[in-house]
Amino acid sequence: MNTNDYLSDAQADLLARQVAAQLDQSLRDLPHDISERLRAARTRAVAARRQQVPVLATGLRLQKGTLVLEGGPDKMRFWGWMGSVIPLIALVLGLFVIHSLQNDWRADELASVDTALLTDELPPTAYTDPGFLRFIRAGSTEAAPTSATAD
């Protein structure tokens, strides 16, 4: 290639701008159906955006004697996040409280059984003696007719 054919930076920039200007001109000549299809595509895109980002008000404000809805997607995002996190925290706390209460009730129950056994005149080892168990059973069968005659 001849070195004279090579454009300087300024010449290259000028040529590029001229070509870009010509391309801009070509935009004016776009056929009507293409312009219409582009317009339809644009409308569809903006409509899709509207469906995706519903503008919801989070509060009311008085402005020049008129009530104005305020707040929008940013606030909604925060409250939406809070709305999902708060019930979750409440659920975890509730489960924890139920668990600890059940532990307390179980401990109380065991303690009352232990207390009854230890404070009774009869020693707890007596319930492991087979002769004593037979005595209790015989006693309950004898006691039943007695109570019946008493009635």
């Binding site: 001109q25 056929p31 595509a41």
Partner: protein, 188 residues
């Protein structure tokens, strides 16, 4: 966050240029329209929370990526089927441009002479042809840098390459265009 009207205005300002840019790459009007529509939908659906001043860069990037996706899909499709449709698309595009040139020239007769209109259309068409002949990366760099008027850093960000590569691509593209347009007598 860009409002609906800001988004509409922005899309209105870029849609024709985006269509042409895609058309230079894919050389198929329907595909170019699909690419522009997909890009608009992606911008509206995924980046609607971005401020209005970020939309141009985002859109250019989305458009480039959507065009690349189209080429990837075409490559897969062509690997499976014969590429008759590709030839048909090329032919229809060229026919369409010629017909359009005639149709539009009729409407512009009052403004400029028929001969001048035809010359202008021919000149634009020659330039468009030469732009389509450029290698894809050179064409992309040239269009982003000079037509979309992005700076070197922005062009590099959209193309996902270094600033040095952008400068090289642009320089080669301009030199190639100069040579081709000189050969056709369009520049001195």
């Amino acid at each position: 966050m860009a409002s609906d009207s800001e988004l509409t205005d922005f899309l209105k300002s870029v849609e024709k240029r985006a269509f042409k840019r895609s058309l230079y790459h894919v050389r198929d009007e329907d595909a170019a329209l699909d690419i522009v529509q997909d890009s608009m939908m992606k911008l509206a659906e995924h980046y609607s929370d971005k401020p209005a001043n970020e939309l141009p860069m985002l859109f250019q990037r989305i458009l480039s990526n959507t065009t690349l996706d189209w080429f990837r899909r075409q490559k897969t499709k062509n690997a499976l089927f014969t590429n008759f449709s590709q030839f048909e698309a090329d032919d229809s595009t060229e026919d369409f441009n010629l017909l359009d040139a005639h149709r539009i020239s009729e409407g512009n007769e009052q403004v400029e002479s028929a001969q001048r209109t035809v010359e202008r259309h021919q000149s634009i068409q020659e330039i468009e042809t030469e732009i389509q002949k450029l290698p894809a990366r050179q064409r992309e760099a040239f269009l982003l840098r000079y037509w979309e008027e992005l700076d070197v850093a922005e062009t590099a960000a959209v193309m996902g390459c270094s600033e040095g590569s952008v400068k090289t691509h642009c320089s080669r593209a301009v030199q190639a265009l100069d040579k081709a347009l000189k050969a056709k007598g369009l520049t001195s």
